[in-house]
């Protein structure tokens, strides 16, 4: 066996489990979703294989457009807040001494060890009218405030859930930044803020993009948080897709909505790749 053939065989052996997984569980279902978009709804779910473009024209129905706009707004706001909170956090962690860095990073990832639904439910206990925060406020003569079942609660839940996904890539890029660059900037007379604006921020922009994407993407598709923390009073694209598949039994239109979501996210990915390459 020639060495190059051996290497190729090795690559094949190592890649095949992952590749099989991706092809069977991602590409095949994805292809099915795409194909369903041009067919009609079956009475009990499923599809009737008769061609139609109606699913696409329904996308532009003001009803669904308004949901899309609403989702973009909520996911965008959550991403922005996560960035504003996450950047200083990541920056501080890079400044910690070695051992504490590990501790801090473990703390960031820790919530992921608990079930997502339970963590969201914990927010209900905190925020509800008779909840911890409101009874605390009442004890000092304030409130009660309406903290739950509104859009603020949705954004809070999204930020909380996905903040670690913002901090980690930011940490990775800030950590990689050569401290000598900042020193050079300071030596040349730049103030701390100018150094941040002209050196640190531009060089960590890929991390900002990646982190933002990690928060934005799952936020946009989330349906649990709007239901539990939003009290079902506002819908996001994820809720719409879920409803089309599970209760409306309209798979073709659900697929079309999913396709639109994927297309929007692909555009964002391209932008992110472009920024990463330029940096």
């Amino acid at each position: 066996m020639s060495p190059s053939r051996g290497r190729r065989l090795g690559a094949f052996v190592f890649l095949s489990p992952g590749l099989t997984y991706l092809i069977v569980l991602l590409l095949v279902p994805l292809a099915m979703v795409l194909s369903y978009t041009v067919f009609q709804r079956g009475r009990f779910g499923g599809v009737v294989y008769e061609f139609t473009t109606e699913n696409f024209s329904r996308l532009f129905d003001p009803l669904y457009l308004s949901v899309v706009v609403e989702s973009l707004k909520l996911a965008g706001l959550a991403t922005l807040i996560a960035l504003l909170v996450g950047y200083p956090t990541a920056y501080l962690i890079t400044r910690l001494p070695g051992r504490w860095k590990t501790v801090a990073l473990v703390m960031i990832v820790l919530p992921f060890w608990t079930n997502f639904i339970i963590r969201v439910y914990a927010w209900i206990i905190l925020l509800n009218g008779e909840g911890l925060i409101n009874s605390g406020l009442e004890a000092i003569g304030l409130g009660p405030y309406e903290l739950l079942y509104n859009q603020g609660a949705i954004v809070t839940g999204l930020v909380y859930s996905y903040l670690p996904l913002m901090v980690l890539p930011l940490y990775a890029t800030i950590e990689k930044l050569d401290p000598q660059l900042r020193e050079a900037s300071a030596n040349l007379g730049a103030s701390g803020f100018t150094t941040f604006r002209k050196v640190t921020l531009p060089l960590t922009l890929p991390g900002v993009m990646t982190g933002s994407l990690f928060v934005f993407v799952p936020s946009l598709g989330n349906f649990v948080i709007p239901e539990m923390l939003g009290g079902g009073k506002s819908a996001m694209v994820g809720n719409l897709i879920r409803k089309e598949f599970l209760s409306a039994r309209d798979w073709p239109f659900g697929s079309t909505l999913a396709l639109a979501l994927i297309a929007a996210l692909l555009v964002l990915l391209v932008v992110q790749a472009w920024v990463a390459r330029r940096a």
Partner: protein, 373 residues
């Protein structure tokens, strides 16, 4: 680390949807098959069939039958094997049963209107009453359900209605009308909830306007939409899973609730249930036998076994749903305040929800319009 996270995150939503599709990939053509009713007679069944050669696969909601059911059935009926698979909702069960391919299910638990829909597709085996002597245990009312008069293709397992569940210690006036939820008085403002599932979302408004729960008239649905849009700012939330918790914590004072879900026997809080004067629905969860079943004798024996009062009472005692089985209900100890005491005749005042076919999309749209506004 971030890269792997990312590749897992991005497709998550797609993969979830995809899996559902993959499950059905084997064939979707049967969903379009012509509506052939099962009134045409099915092959005669052999009452003396050897059950030890038959296995059963049953699909049912999680927690809806006793945990030991498998062992109990195997022991009593001497069948080869009982497999229990779970479905979360009627919709999921329908997907399982209509997606074509070999689902292998013999007996399914679905709500009445879904049994009706399955029957219209010709997917159900007619019930052979001679194989189910325990049908005699049912209340006479339970054989007069509007989606299936005479239990031709379905056997009721549990039944109930929808009403207002409320904190009797905190309300200033006990609710009597759906309008108490739709136009809550000032003391209940933002302390009421409605359900989110399409047909039950519309139910209070439909009934308060005097319409049928099974309407498919656009102008009636438009009026319902107006009522719900006006109600939305005064609601705490739309909720059909945790409304009981909201009442117990005191976040909500009145909620739209299925009777079995209204915690009237909660040890601490004073909670009561009222069917509003405008009327309500009658929901029934049923057992049906699939036409595709190869174990139809065992399937009938299974249903007969469930209708045994000693078995059927389990549902009333453990999941707090009324069972349409007179002999079983007579054995159930009914605690004061328990909704198990609602009489069958009262239940029958409610209007059975039936399947609306294509018109059901109107209710989906209504629900999207309400949440998106």
């Amino acid at each position: 680390m971030s890269r792997t996270r990312f590749t897992r995150r991005l497709p998550a939503a797609v993969a979830v949807a995809g899996l559902a599709l993959a499950a059905a990939a084997c064939g979707g053509e049967s969903t379009n098959s012509a509506e052939t009713a099962t009134q045409a007679t099915a092959a005669a069944l052999n009452p003396n069939a050897d059950l030890t050669k038959q296995s059963l696969a049953v699909t049912v909601w999680d927690g809806y039958t006793p945990e030991e059911l498998q062992a109990m059935v195997k022991k009593e009926l001497k069948i080869k094997e009982l497999t229990v698979t779970l479905h979360e909702t009627n919709e999921v069960a329908m997907t399982k049963l209509t997606a074509g391919g070999d689902h292998g299910i013999d007996v399914a638990f679905v709500s009445g209107q879904y049994a009706q829909a399955l029957n219209e597709q010709g997917l159900l085996e007619p019930i052979h009453p001679e194989l189910i002597p325990n049908l005699a245990n049912l209340y006479p009312e339970a054989t007069q359900l509007s989606y299936d008069k005479g239990n031709k293709y379905s056997v009721p397992y549990t039944w109930g209605t929808t009403g207002i569940c409320y904190r009797s210690d905190l309300v200033k006036k006990k609710p009597t009308s759906w309008n108490d939820l739709l136009k809550p008085p000032a003391w209940a403002d933002k302390k009421v909830t409605l359900m989110t599932t399409e047909r039950w979302l519309a139910l209070p408004a439909l009934k308060s306007l005097g319409f049928s729960v099974n309407t498919d008239k656009d102008e009636e649905i438009a009026k319902v939409k107006e009522v719900l849009l006006a109600a939305k700012p005064h609601l705490l939330a739309f909720d059909d899973t945790t409304f009981g918790d909201k009442l117990i914590s005191g976040e909500a004072l009145m909620v739209e609730a299925w009777d079995g879900w209204c915690p009237t026997t909660h040890e601490k809080q004073n909670i009561e249930f009222k069917v509003p004067k405008e009327g309500s629905d009658l929901w029934v969860d049923t057992m049906v036998i699939m036409k595709s079943s190869k174990n139809k004798e065992a399937a009938h024996a299974f249903i007969n076994y469930i209708l045994n009062p000693e078995v059927h009472r389990w549902a009333a005692e453990n999941i707090n749903y009324k069972v349409p089985n007179k002999a079983a209900m007579e054995k159930v100890k009914i605690a004061p305040g328990s909704l198990l005491g609602i009489k069958p005749a009262e239940l029958l005042n409610g209007e059975s929800i039936i399947d609306l076919g294509q018109a059901s999309t109107k209710f989906t749209r209504l629900s999207s319009e309400i949440t998106a506004s």
